[in-house]
Amino acid sequence: MLKGATQVDYIVSAGIFIVVFGMTVATVTDYYAGVSESTKITTLRSYALDLLDSLEKAPVPPVWTGTPDVLGIGGKAYRFAILVNNTANNYMNDGVTAQSLASEIVSFRYAEMGSDVDVNSTVIYNETGATVPYSVSGDNVSFTTALDAGQAKWFTVYYDRSSNFTSRSTSVSGANNLTQSVFGVEEIQVVKYREMQKLNGAAYATVTVATGMKDFYLEVFNTVTNATYFTFGNTAPARGNVVSVEKPIIYQNATADIITGKLKVRVW
């Protein structure tokens, strides 16, 4: 009788031990699994932010074949403002009263501004954001505008130093009556059409190996039309950790227009 009772004690003890031991193992496993998961997500986030940052800059090396060492689809573009003011003191001829001008020719020369320019990348916007047709002759760019007497109009010219745009030159006709003010050049960061095209021609597998990147997907999104403009990379898996980050950008489209958009990156 006493011996049987002792066996029951052992069984109860062993049962309690197994339960508590199991709970302890589960707690420890959860603890370390949580740390491991956080670390993985942190690493992915770091990759995604690095890639996002790198993409807006120029690739390394800037001229590459096959695949770059560091991914980049961005670079510098430049802009400056032009003011055309239809007041008497801006007329090239003295003693003239300001009058309505139906087709005033406005022109500028890149060489006079000391800029090294790819003229085909020129795009001109008026105050409402509409593009203005222009004519190119050498490095001389001309466009026309209508001005009422006393009216002033601002134009913004964007250009790039290296691009693969075809010429948008068109004939313009009018008379040059006024002098215009050309303001200093500003440098801006854009995602470039040429770099997007170049990356599009590269093989994704080669790019990931050469750059040491994880699996990724990138997208240039037009926020004006809410449409995807450019994508590169792999499709994100339906399961698992995928980190997605984005930033607002401006990019050049196929006709050198400057577009407001977003750069989205997914990494897994």
Binding site: T6, V20, F21, V28, V35, K247, T260
Partner: protein
């Protein structure tokens, strides 16, 4: 009697294991909080984007805070709340909550279309 002592020993051992493990692993490791860093980066990025788009200089030159805030609304995620100020040396912190974790970013505009502006565009941002 002997069995009782064994049971007692096991219970003591179990208690020691349970107390030790609960002391060691009771504190769940804190996950890194990326929100303030991301918020600050995003706040600066949107100002930089507005500058690259050519409108930030115009807003600063015209002291046009409503236009600036309207542009920011379309660029920032809906759960990001913000307050902006176009100022020079000292900026008014009115409307910036005192009971939240708030980050700020500054963007300086020197000139716009050939005219001196000398303004600081400041954004305070926080999440809901």
């Amino acid at each position: 009697m002997r069995g009782f002592i064994y049971t007692l020993e096991v219970l003591i051992a179990i208690s020691l294991i349970a107390v030790s493990s609960s002391l060691l692993f009771s504190r769940v490791p804190e996950k890194p909080d990326f929100v303030p860093a991301l918020l600050k980066e995003r706040a600066f990025e949107v100002l930089d984007n507005l500058y690259n788009s050519g409108v930030l200089g115009l807003y600063a030159a015209n002291n046009s805070e409503p236009s600036l805030e309207q542009s920011l609304l379309s660029l920032l995620p809906p759960n990001y709340l913000f307050e902006t100020e176009i100022c020079a040396e000292s900026c008014d912190t009115l409307n910036v909550p005192g009971n939240r974790s708030v980050v700020s970013a500054d963007y300086y505009i020197g000139s716009y279309r050939g005219s001196y502006v000398g303004k600081r565009v400041k954004i305070w941002a926080w999440t809901e």
